[in-house]
């Protein structure tokens, strides 16, 4: 006889898994979080560039677990396993997931991002649809995420800034490098409005978490003060304190089992240390494994009742992957030509740039036309020392070594600093961007790996290039040298969404408006899989907010049982 030990089993412990676990554990329900990776505690993190940025310490070895990437080359689709290319699509497989390693630049999506098709119309070759919910329905959860995760910032009224139900952030912005004086002035000269970037980093102590200590190594690293609003620090630790959460790390989920059509009975899991397999029963199951892996798990859960994958009566499972992308660029601020601020101020380490531009979120220009644009974040070049040194050992196509290399590196590190911008515009969903199961490749647990066909829409490149040109002008106004930008259709792998889009019609969507499977009543997908479109911002805040919304609904369902 089987025992249902848990009310809810959650697959994945990242931003969305943490938000659901927090809500339900606080409400008194028995919850198990299944995480493939191990638990790294706050005190175990260090600023070890080799470990966290150059080796597979927090992600699986690509020889054990990988994806197959399908790209169009010279008009033909070519497949490459990531163990061959090194292009990893893992993003932090430890307790707390990739939220441990985020830079934390967050924005709410704009109300028009929820009704992109209605507002801007259909785009040929893009599968754009409106969301089945409005910004107003999401707003309370944006606020909940802001307060629980600890997002610091300063509200400034702006046409592209979404409305808020509170006047301002409870956490003021993190401390800023003096370069913002130069950046702000340069923007104003160009009639551009710079805004303070909301950041999932505490500027003040909050409960068991200490304020940021400005380590200079934030993105890509775990936080040693608890300031970063990772799922582990902000949500799982308080959830564990309730006594209602069982955190099962080193637990790989192979599939979800259904013995009848409308309900999951148990998860089939493997202990990654011992290799022992077991079944974990619950009343409800929440998948939150990151978009491409969530779709893979449901596809790998196919059986006679669900021949095309669990909850895939629509045939939409895995389709319409989207990314948080747009392009980037940079320029060099040199000691001998620096304006407005002292070079010593520029070189002060650890402080944030904290500036965004939303002026081009919606383009409506007499010459350029009317179309959806994007947002821009400014930051210093990542301060990793090895990677910065490594980028400066070539000249005119030849490697530089010897005393010349010594001169070049010391000049580069001590006489200038690079400032960057990153653009985020909609990655338009299209028929050539999806995840399926690879027929030939299996991971070390014997499960078929995800095969990701990746292709952007031409409009994405057009928008990215349009904004990049404007950002280059900002850097030039700042006096930066060697300014350039790069806009490409290759997606960044750190923020994946879509694959289980939500909607009101079971024929065209995998999930309903509460991210509950249309087909399987006790199955929810809480991560970014639900997103039919990704907005023109890094959407981690939306992932947190939506997971709180989904958790509220699950709570009501559990109460009604």
């Amino acid at each position: 006889m089987t025992t249902v030990k848990y009310d809810v089993v959650i697959v994945g412990s990242g931003a969305s898994g943490g938000a659901v676990a927090y809500t339900l554990a606080k409400a008194g329900y028995k919850v198990a979080v299944l995480e493939k990776g191990r638990l790294l505690k706050r005190e175990e993190f260090s600023k070890d560039e080799l470990a966290y940025c150059r080796r597979d310490i927090v992600t699986p070895s690509l020889f054990d677990e990988y994806h197959v990437i399908e790209e169009r080359v010279d008009g033909k689709w070519e497949s490459t396993p990531t163990y061959d290319s090194g292009w990893s699509f893992w993003n932090g497989n430890v307790v707390g997931g990739s939220s441990n390693f985020m830079s934390g630049m967050l924005h709410r999506m704009h109300p028009d991002d929820f009704r992109l098709k209605s507002k801007y119309g259909a785009i040929e070759g893009a599968n754009v649809v409106d969301w089945p919910i409005s910004y107003e329905e999401m707003e309370p959860y944006y606020l909940q995420a802001e307060e629980l995760v600890g997002i610091s910032g300063k509200y400034q009224k702006h046409p592209a800034e979404p409305p808020r139900s509170t006047a301002d952030f409870t956490q003021p912005p993190t401390n800023e490098n003096a370069v913002v004086k130069l950046l702000d002035k340069s923007c104003r000269e160009l009639d551009i409005t710079p805004l303070v970037t909301p950041r999932a980093v505490l500027s003040r102590d909050k409960g068991h978490r200490n304020a940021c200590y400005y380590s200079n190594f934030c993105g890509s690293y775990g936080c040693s003060s608890g300031a970063k609003g990772s799922s582990r620090e902000a949500l799982l630790m308080p959830a564990l304190a309730t006594g209602n959460l069982t955190l099962k790390s080193n637990t790989y989920v192979k599939s979800l089992h259904t013995s009848r059509k409308d309900a999951v009975d148990y998860a089939v899991v493997v202990d990654t240390i011992s290799g022992k397999e077991e079944k974990i029963y619950a009343k409800m199951f929440v998948v939150a494994a990151q978009a491409h892996e969530s779709a893979r798990l449901l596809l790998n859960s196919a059986n006679a009742l669900h021949p095309n994958g669990l909850g895939n009566s629509s045939g939409e499972l895995g389709k319409n992957l989207v990314f948080s992308a747009g392009g980037s660029g940079e320029g060099e601020l040199h000691e001998d030509s620096l304006k407005e601020i002292k070079f010593e101020e520029l070189m002060q380490t650890g402080l944030f740039v904290n500036r965004s531009i939303l002026d081009w979120y919606f383009i409506d220009h007499w010459w350029d036309g009317k179309f959806k644009g994007g947002s821009v974040e400014f930051m210093f070049e990542h301060q990793n020392i090895i990677s910065r040194a490594r980028k400066n050992n070539e000249e005119n196509g030849k490697m530089v070594w010897g005393t010349v290399l010594g001169e070049k590196l010391t000049e580069r590190f001590t006489k200038s600093k690079k400032i960057r911008f990153e653009i985020f515009n909609d990655w338009l969903p299209n028929d050539n961007c999806f995840v399926s199961l690879d027929k030939n490749h299996k991971d070390k647990y014997g499960m078929p790996v995800g095969k990701l066909r990746l292709e952007g829409h031409p409009q994405d490149l057009k928008v990215g290039k349009y904004i990049a040109k404007k950002c280059e002008k900002v850097l030039e106004e700042m006096g930066a040298q060697n300014v350039y930008s790069s806009v490409s259709s290759a997606p960044p792998q750190n923020l994946v969404a879509g694959g289980c889009r939500f909607g009101n019609d079971p024929k065209t969507s995998v999930l309903n408006k509460y991210c509950q499977s249309h087909d399987v009543a006790n199955l929810f997908v809480a991560d970014a899989s639900f997103m039919p479109t990704g907005g023109s911002v890094p959407y981690t805040w939306t992932i947190y907010a939506n997971a709180f919304r989904v958790a509220d609904h699950i709570k009501k369902k559990l109460k009604a049982l």
């Binding site: 993190f45 470990a51 020392i385 490697m399 010594g406 590196l409 590190f413």
Partner: protein, 166 residues
């Protein structure tokens, strides 16, 4: 381009086979045969008298060996490090280590002209820079000399154990 193809493309030996390094002990033995050549290349790239610490002074050959030898390191690159060194030895008829600095420069620039040689030299440079500029716990950024030279310091907390022990 696929990584394995990238590594072997342009090999001077054409279809030269991968060296199988099935066990760490086997690797250690093979490494001994090419150790002095790799060290000589590192010392040419990072010589004494430069504004950054020298490979010899910082014992970067030890870092390279410990890194590449460990089971967590990519087995193809491990084999590539050995194979490339042997190619350089063969190409220079076993005389590379005893060459003058000018002769080494000519030999390495010639090696760099080939895709294979360039990839190998790039790998050796990466492994050397990783030693010089990683946390002191890894052994080749002694007393933070690499960081001091660049006025760029790793963040706090610094690691107290190497990643292989995490």
């Amino acid at each position: 381009m696929q990584r394995r193809h990238f590594l072997i493309l342009g090999s001077l030996l054409g279809a030269s086979p991968y060296i199988e390094a099935k066990a760490q002990s086997a690797f250690s033995k093979k490494f001994e045969n090419v150790k002095s050549t790799i060290a000589a290349v590192q010392e040419h790239m990072f010589p004494q008298g430069s504004k950054i610490p020298s490979a010899r002074e910082m014992n970067t050959i030890r870092f390279l060996f410990e890194t590449v030898e460990h089971k967590s390191y990519d087995k193809d690159i491990r084999a590539f490090v050995l194979e490339g060194a042997q190619e350089l030895i063969d190409r220079e008829k076993g005389k590379f280590n005893t060459m003058t600095a000018a002769e080494k420069e000519k030999a390495l620039r010639g090696f760099e002209e080939t895709n294979y040689g360039r990839n190998w030299l790039s790998r050796i440079m990466t492994l050397t820079m990783e030693g010089l500029f990683s946390a002191p716990v890894y052994g080749s950024n002694q007393k933070e000399a690499g960081w001091k030279a660049l006025s760029a310091y790793g963040g706090e907390p610094k690691p107290t154990v190497r990643y292989v022990a995490l």
